[in-house]
C-alpha cells in the first residue's frame, strides 16, 4: 500500500524505505505517493527523488497517454452510441452500420462509424445520479463524494501514475472554455502537484510568457547561471530537497517553453484545416500536440449537451462537431504512431432520458447510458452491455462509475486495486468493489 499522510500530518516514518523496497517496483508507487496533500509541498524532494527516472517503473517508460473528451451537460446515448430507431423513444435518426460487423451507432456519427476498429462502446452505464454537479463528481472520480476525503479525479490519478519527474511539460491539462458547467477538476488528496493546468478563458496558458522587459538572451543567461550555480551547489550538498528545487525550476522553464504547444498556428495549414473551424476541433488539435510532447493527460471539455429543449437539433450540431473532430484526432494519432499509446475517452456526467418531452428535448438520465473508449488497451469494435428496446434500463452488463474507472486504469496498465494510504485509510485507485470490463480490453 502506498503510504500517504493526512494534510499537514506528514511524519518521517511515512518516508522510510527499506533497501529492498527501494529497489522494488512497489517502491516507485510508494515513493510517488509519499508526499500527498498537505505534506506534499513541504516534502517535494522526497517524492520527486523517489520518482526519478532510474526508479520509474516500466509503466512510465511506455509513455502512455489519455485524452478525455468530456461531453459536458450530458450527451444523448440515443443520438450517439446506443440508437433505438423505431422505438417510441428512439427519435428521428437512423442507426447506421459501422466497420465493425453488427455494431450500429447513430447516423449523426458517420465518420466515427468508419473508425470503430479503434473504439469500444460501453452501453450499460448505470451511475444513478442525474444531477450535473454530483454526476460529474461521481464520473470524474469513479466514486461517490465523501465528506471526509477529497478524491482525485481521473486526470490527477493518471498524472500521478504516468507523469514523469523529469517532464518539462504539465502532467494534466484541462481545457474548458465554455462557461456553462465549467469544472476545473481536482487532484484531491494527491495534492497540487497533480492539479490540472486549467485553461478556461483562453486556449493559451496565461502568465507563462517571458516578461517583455527581459530579453530572450537575458532570460536564457539567467537560467544558465542558475543551473550552473545549482550544479556546483549540488556537487557538494546533494539532497532530495536540492533535487526538488532544481526540478521545480526546470519545470517552470518547461512550462514557459511549452507555450507553443497551445498555438495551433504552429501546425501546417493542411493539418489545421483537417481539424476544421470549430473551437472543439482546435482543442483536439492542441490535445494531440500536448500528447505528442509528453503530457500524459489532456481533458477537452465540449459543452454543452444539456438538451432539455430541441434535443435533435442540438445533437445535429454537437454530434457533427464530435464526429469530425474526434475522427480527425484518431486519424492523426494513428498516423503519428501515437494511438497505440493513447487512450481516447468520450464521457459526460450522464446520458439523456429516452422520453422525449414537449420541447422535443431529453432530460437528465443516469440509469442506462453510454461512453466510448478508443486506442490504447481497447478491443476495437466491441460493444459492451445492452439496454432494453426503449433504452430505459440496462438489461445486460451493468457498469458503475467505479467499473468504468477500473476499466480505464486497466487499459492503461495501471493496477486499479492499488491503494493509496491517506493517513491510515486505504484508498484504492478504483473504488472498492469495482471491476474492469474485460470485454472491452485487449
Amino acid at each position: 500500500m502506498n503510504q500517504l499522510s493526512q494534510p499537514g500530518v506528514c511524519v518521517p516514518s511515512h518516508h522510510a524505505v527499506t533497501r529492498r523496497e527501494f529497489l522494488s517496483d512497489r517502491a516507485v508507487r510508494l515513493a510517488g505517493t509519499a508526499g500527498i496533500a498537505g505534506c506534499f509541498a513541504a516534502d517535494m524532494g522526497q517524492v520527486h527523488a523517489l520518482r526519478s527516472e532510474e526508479l520509474a517503473g516500466e509503466l512510465k517508460k511506455q509513455d502512455k497517454k489519455v485524452i478525455l473528451l468530456w461531453l459536458a451537460g450530458g450527451a444523448s446515448q440515443l443520438e450517439t452510441w446506443d440508437p433505438k430507431p423505431g422505438a417510441k423513444t428512439g427519435g428521428p435518426f437512423r442507426a447506421i452500420p459501422t466497420n465493425s460487423t453488427g455494431v450500429h451507432i447513430s447516423e449523426l456519427l458517420p465518420e466515427l462509424a468508419q473508425r470503430m476498429q479503434h473504439t469500444a462502446i460501453i452501453r450499460s452505464l448505470n451511475t444513478k445520479i442525474a444531477d450535473h454537479g454530483r454526476g460529474a463528481d461521481l464520473v470524474e472520480t469513479g466514486r461517490m463524494k465523501d465528506p471526509g476525503i477529497l478524491y482525485p479525479d481521473l486526470g490527477a490519478v493518471v498524472a500521478r501514475e504516468l507523469g514523469r519527474l523529469e517532464s518539462k511539460v504539465p502532467d494534466y491539462v484541462s481545457l474548458y472554455t465554455s462557461t456553462e458547467g465549467r469544472r476545473k477538476g481536482t487532484s484531491g488528496f494527491l495534492g497540487a502537484r497533480y492539479a490540472p493546468m486549467f485553461l478556461s478563458e483562453s486556449m493559451i496558458p496565461p502568465n507563462i510568457a517571458r516578461l517583455a522587459a527581459i530579453s530572450a538572451i537575458d532570460h536564457n543567461d539567467r537560467a544558465a547561471l542558475r543551473d550552473a550555480l545549482g550544479r556546483r551547489f549540488t556537487e557538494a550538498r546533494r539532497s532530495a530537497s536540492v533535487d526538488s528545487h532544481n526540478a521545480a525550476y526546470q519545470r517552470v522553464q518547461g512550462l514557459m517553453a511549452s507555450a507553443d504547444l497551445f498555438d495551433i498556428t504552429k501546425e501546417p495549414e493542411e493539418v489545421q484545416a483537417r481539424y476544421g473551424p470549430t473551437q472543439f476541433g482546435h482543442q483536439c488539435l492542441i490535445a494531440r500536440r500536448l500528447i505528442e510532447a509528453g503530457v500524459p493527460f489532456v481533458k477537452v471539455a465540449r459543452a454543452w449537451w444539456d438538451s432539455h429543449g430541441q434535443n435533435f437539433e442540438t445533437h445535429q450540431e454537437l454530434c457533427a462537431d464530435l464526429d469530425h473532430s474526434m475522427s480527425v484526432l484518431l486519424d492523426d494519432l494513428e498516423q503519428r504512431g501515437l494511438l497505440k499509446n493513447t487512450l481516447v475517452i468520450t464521457l459526460g456526467e450522464f446520458g439523456r432520458t429516452p422520453q422525449i418531452n414537449a420541447s422535443l428535448g431529453r432530460d437528465h438520465f443516469a440509469s442506462a447510458w453510454s461512453c466510448s473508449l478508443s486506442g490504447l488497451g481497447i478491443r476495437g469494435g466491441a460493444a459492451y452491455g445492452k439496454t432494453d428496446p426503449e433504452g430505459q434500463t440496462v438489461v445486460e452488463g451493468e457498469a458503475s462509475a467505479g467499473d468504468l474507472f477500473a476499466t480505464i486504469l486497466s487499459a492503461l496498465g495501471i493496477d486499479y486495486k492499488h491503494e493509496y494510504m491517506v493517513g491510515a485509510r486505504p484508498v484504492p485507485l478504483a473504488d472498492f468493489g469495482s471491476k474492469p470490463i474485460a470485454e472491452v480490453l485487449t
Partner: protein, 366 residues
C-alpha cells in the same frame, strides 16, 4: 389551406343562426379560444392535412405513422392510415385533391390515395436529409419540400416528377455547424414560394422559375451562444403569406438566454416582402417558445399563431397593428394547425394531442 368544419357540434339553435354567424365572421375578429374537442394522438403530431370533403384530418407523427382522425366522431380515436409507413418522423403532409403527400426524416416522399391508404408513389431519396416541411400550391398542381440538405424542391403533384431543385442556402451556419431548412409556404396567388432556415434567412422566389425575388433576414430568431454553451437554437419555423400575397408572416422565437430550453419569447415578424419592409414585430412574453404554425384569416384582418415550449399556445393577432386579440394556452405544444373553411374554428395537433378550437363565442356552422 382550409378544412371542412366538423359538423357534429351544430345544434338546432346554432343552425338557425347560420346567416348572422356568416356575417359576423366577415366583420368581427376572433375573440375567444374555446376548446370544443380534445383527442389523444399515439405520438407527437408534427403536421396535418385536412380531408377534401369530410371533417377528417390526417396527422403525421413521431411513431412514423400517419393517423386518420374523424373529427365528427363523438369519441375521437385516431386510426392508422396507409398500407406502409415511413421509417422516421413524418414531418410534412399536404393534400392535393384525393392524394395525400407525406415527407419524413427518412428523406422520402410518399404519395397516397387519401381514401384507401394505398401508396401511389414513393420517392425514397427525395432529399439527402430530414424533410422538414411540405407546401402545396393553391391550384394543387405543385408541391414544395424543404430539408436539412438545404435544398428546396418542387414536385409535380400528379406525376411525382421533380420539377426543380434550388440550393441557395448555406449548408453550415456562420459558426460552422450544420444548418437546417425548416419552413416553406406558397403565396395565395401561387406565384411565390418562401422558405426559411435556421439562421433566420428567408428567400422568396418565383415559384415557377426559381428566381429569387426577395431576401429577408430575421436574425433575432437565431440564437448562437458563443460563450456558455457554444451551440445554437431557434430558426424560422413557420411562414404564411397573406391572402393578397403581399405580406409574409414569419414565425420563430426571440433571443434565448439559456439555450438548453425553449425559453425565448414567441416571435412573429410580418414583412411587406416585396419592399423588404418589416412591418410588424410581435413578441409574446406570456407564452414562450417557437411559433410552429401561422395562418392569416380570410380577409387578412387577423393572424393565428401556434406553438409552444413545454406547453403550448394559440394566439390571434390583429394584423393592422399587431395587437393581441385573444390567446390561450393549448393542451400541448402545437406543431401544426389548420383554420376551418368558415374561419371560425381550427384544428391543431402537437405533442401527443389534438384539439378543435372555436375562435368565436357563437359556435361554428356547417
Amino acid at each position: 389551406m382550409t378544412m371542412e368544419t366538423p359538423t357534429d357540434e351544430i345544434t338546432t339553435q346554432d343552425a338557425a343562426a347560420t346567416a348572422p354567424v356568416a356575417a359576423e365572421a366577415a366583420a368581427v375578429l376572433p375573440h375567444v379560444i374555446k376548446v370544443r374537442k380534445d383527442f389523444a394522438l399515439p405520438g407527437i403530431g408534427f403536421c396535418m392535412a385536412s380531408s377534401q370533403t369530410q371533417p377528417m384530418i390526417y396527422v403525421g407523427l413521431s411513431d412514423f405513422s400517419i393517423q386518420k382522425v374523424d373529427l365528427s366522431s363523438e369519441k375521437i380515436e385516431p386510426a392508422a392510415f396507409g398500407t406502409i409507413q415511413h421509417s422516421s418522423y413524418v414531418s410534412g403532409l399536404v393534400r392535393c385533391g384525393a392524394t395525400l403527400i407525406s415527407g419524413a426524416c427518412d428523406c422520402s416522399l410518399i404519395w397516397w390515395n387519401s381514401d384507401s391508404g394505398d401508396v401511389i408513389r414513393r420517392v425514397s431519396d427525395a432529399h439527402a436529409r430530414w424533410i422538414r416541411m411540405l407546401a402545396v400550391s393553391p391550384d394543387q398542381t405543385r408541391v414544395a419540400s424543404v430539408a436539412d440538405d438545404m435544398h428546396t424542391k418542387l414536385w409535380d403533384a400528379a406525376t411525382g416528377d421533380c420539377l426543380a431543385t434550388w440550393g441557395d442556402y448555406e449548408v453550415k451556419t456562420p459558426q460552422g455547424f450544420p444548418s437546417m431548412l425548416y419552413a416553406v409556404a406558397f403565396s395565395a396567388d401561387g406565384k411565390w414560394l418562401a422558405t426559411g432556415d435556421r439562421t433566420g434567412r428567408i428567400l422568396v422566389r418565383d415559384a415557377m422559375s426559381g428566381q429569387i425575388a426577395a431576401t429577408l433576414e430575421t436574425p433575432v430568431m437565431y440564437t448562437w451562444d458563443p460563450a456558455a454553451r457554444r451551440h445554437s437554437i431557434g430558426g424560422i419555423r413557420s411562414l404564411a403569406f397573406s391572402n393578397d400575397s403581399r405580406q409574409l408572416a414569419v414565425g420563430g422565437m426571440g433571443k434565448v438566454g439559456n439555450i438548453d430550453h425553449l425559453e425565448g419569447v414567441s416571435r412573429i415578424e410580418i414583412f411587406n416582402w416585396q419592399t423588404a419592409e418589416r412591418r410588424l414585430e410581435i413578441e409574446d412574453s406570456k407564452h414562450k417558445g417557437l411559433v410552429e404554425a401561422l395562418q392569416f384569416g380570410p380577409d387578412d384582418a387577423f393572424l393565428i399563431a401556434a406553438g409552444g415550449d413545454n406547453s403550448g399556445f394559440i394566439s390571434v393577432y390583429n394584423t393592422a397593428d399587431g395587437k393581441l386579440l385573444v390567446q390561450d394556452k393549448a393542451a400541448m405544444h402545437v406543431h401544426d394547425f389548420e383554420l376551418h373553411a368558415d374561419a371560425r374554428s381550427l384544428t391543431a395537433v402537437g405533442h401527443h394531442h389534438g384539439t378543435v378550437i372555436d375562435l368565436f363565442a357563437t359556435p361554428a356552422q356547417g
